[in-house]
């Protein structure tokens, strides 16, 4: 066999090898593409699970609040009305009219309270009212109970962050508020919602007992860990800073323009 013939054999073998290599690259690309797609699906599925969990927790917390409200407020007022009406026997007409008027006002107040309560019973109110109004309603409820003095401020021009993001943010807020009420022994709580084009901040600062930063990882700090996990799911970052005796500050920072796994352009839940 001549040298040129040998070269032909070699060239053909090399071209074949090159083609196999090319095919191998195509196959590897397909494997990587499918793996990325699968991870994306798992992320999406995890997100849906946490979102559903958040919905359930918001509902559970709302029911606890409603039950407390009925027990502490409505039942008390209704008992007072019942007592008031029972005392109308054997009194003068003027006094009777006074008690009836007083009872009528109290019934109106109860109706009003029940209406507010019924609104907060459904998860849909976050969707309807938006994050600010929902937080405002919660702040009013706590302020009325006199358990804590909350000051709410909103800076910047507010916009919708998307239904799902707002639900998760509300759940973080609810958890932070609960922690303050249960453990902080605080008298004042400042809530600040900051809206700008590139950034959204939810800041909660209390004047309670505070805690050492090491406690965040420990058993007591599981609520704070939960908040961080939830925030990460919507692309937000939670920063918790506290010193013993100097209160606690929780800041949730979010870039509203950033698209996350669940957020696609046509989805109504995407940031608006």
């Amino acid at each position: 066999m001549r040298n040129t013939d040998k070269e032909i054999f070699t060239i053909i073998a090399l071209i074949s090898l090159f083609l196999i290599l090319l095919i191998a690259i195509i196959i590897l690309t397909a494997i990587l593409y499918h793996n990325r797609k699968r991870i994306h699906k798992i992320d999406l599925s995890n997100f849906q699970t946490i979102l559903l969990q958040s919905q359930l927790e918001v509902q559970e917390q709302t029911l606890i609040n409603v039950s407390r409200e009925i027990h502490d407020n409505i039942t008390q007022v209704l008992s007072f009305i019942k007592l008031n009406l029972a005392m109308t026997d054997g009194v003068t007409e003027n006094e009777k009219q006074l008690k009836i008027n007083e009872s009528r006002d109290l019934v109106a107040q109860v109706i009003n309270d029940l209406r507010t309560l019924s609104k907060s019973l459904s998860f849909e109110h976050i969707k309807e009212l938006g994050l600010i109004k929902t937080i405002e309603a919660e702040v009013n409820r706590v302020n009325n109970s006199r358990l804590l003095n909350i000051a709410l401020t909103v800076t910047g021009e507010n916009y919708s962050l998307g239904e799902q993001r707002e639900l998760v943010l509300f759940r973080i807020f609810q958890e932070a508020l609960n922690n303050t009420l249960k453990h902080a022994n605080a008298k004042h709580l400042k809530i600040n919602l900051q809206y700008s084009k590139q950034l959204f901040n939810l800041i909660l600062e209390d004047d309670g007992n505070g805690f050492s930063p090491g406690e965040i990882g420990a058993g007591n700090g599981s609520g704070l860990k939960n908040m961080q996990k939830r925030a990460a799911l919507i692309g937000a970052v939670t920063t918790v800073s506290s010193t013993i005796g100097k209160g606690c500050s929780i800041q949730v920072t979010l870039n509203p323009t950033q698209q996350y796994t669940y957020a696609d352009g046509n989805d109504p839940n995407s940031p608006g």
Binding site: M1, D5, I8, F9, I12, I15, S16, L19, I20, L22, I23, A24, I26, I27, A30, I31, Y33, H34, N35, K37, R38, K41, I42, S45
Partner: protein
């Protein structure tokens, strides 16, 4: 000295024949095993496996017939290869049509079947005059199947949310891509190589073609095992 050289050559020739027969035994065994698996997969409810079964049975017939005809000089292997080529392309396309959900691409594949048959008949008549192996047809078939199965590879059913390597179509696609990618240049250059050195061309053909063939059928076997395992866990 001459007798020693002659006997050494004879021993080497016998050994080569023996290896070749072992090789053929293994080769046919792999195809037959794949055929049995495709039958089991079909019986378990994986209807697509019927087309793989038909391809494997046709392959076995074509391979055995080629050997017989070659030994008895009844017919040239070109005729068998021509019929097999058309059948194989049609069946692989049908398998793709049953596996894919992309209607536009499916329409293209459906259209390609009669066009390929027409092209095959014309080429075989005009270029190969009904007797030579239709190498161009095999290459066109390979080229089209590479495109079709690359599409399938990138569009595997992700809704099942499972790893890619446990999906039967992944292995079928890999087998087709590697096999046709590997033989593409060799098939078209085979007539030239045969003119240069017929013996070397034949040996290279045996080793390259058969090795890639075995790899191809092993991929099909893995794919069929995946299909059988998937069907095993599905509710009846």
């Amino acid at each position: 000295m001459f007798i020693l050289t002659l006997s050494t050559n004879l021993i080497a020739l016998n050994l080569l024949k023996h290896i070749m027969s072992l090789f053929y035994g293994f080769y046919f065994g792999v195809i037959a095993f794949a055929a049995v698996l495709s039958f089991i997969a079909y019986k378990k409810g994986d209807t697509k496996s019927l087309f793989i079964l038909l391809i494997l049975v046709a392959t076995l017939f074509a391979e055995i017939a080629t050997l017989i005809f070659k030994d008895h000089k009844i017919l040239t292997s070109g005729f068998i290869l021509f019929i097999f080529n058309l059948m194989e392309y049609t069946l692989f396309c049908t398998y793709y049509l049953k596996s894919s959900k992309n209607s536009k691409f499916k329409f293209g594949v459906k259209l390609s079947i009669p066009l390929f048959i027409a092209f095959g008949i014309c080429t075989w008549y005009l270029k190969y005059h009904f007797n030579r192996p239709p190498v161009l047809n095999i290459d066109v078939e390979g080229f089209l199947l590479i495109i079709i199965y690359t599409h399938l590879l990138f569009n595997l059913d992700a809704a099942e949310n499972k790893a890619i390597h446990i999906q039967p179509n992944f292995w079928i696609a890999i087998g087709i891509l590697i096999f046709y990618g590997g033989v593409f240049v060799f098939v078209v250059s085979y007539p030239i190589l045969r003119k240069i050195d017929p013996e070397k061309a034949r040996i290279e053909y045996e080793y390259i073609f058969r090795s890639l063939n075995i790899f191809f059928y092993i991929c099909i076997i893995i794919g069929l095992i995946c299909a059988i395992r998937t069907k095993k866990y599905l509710p009846l």
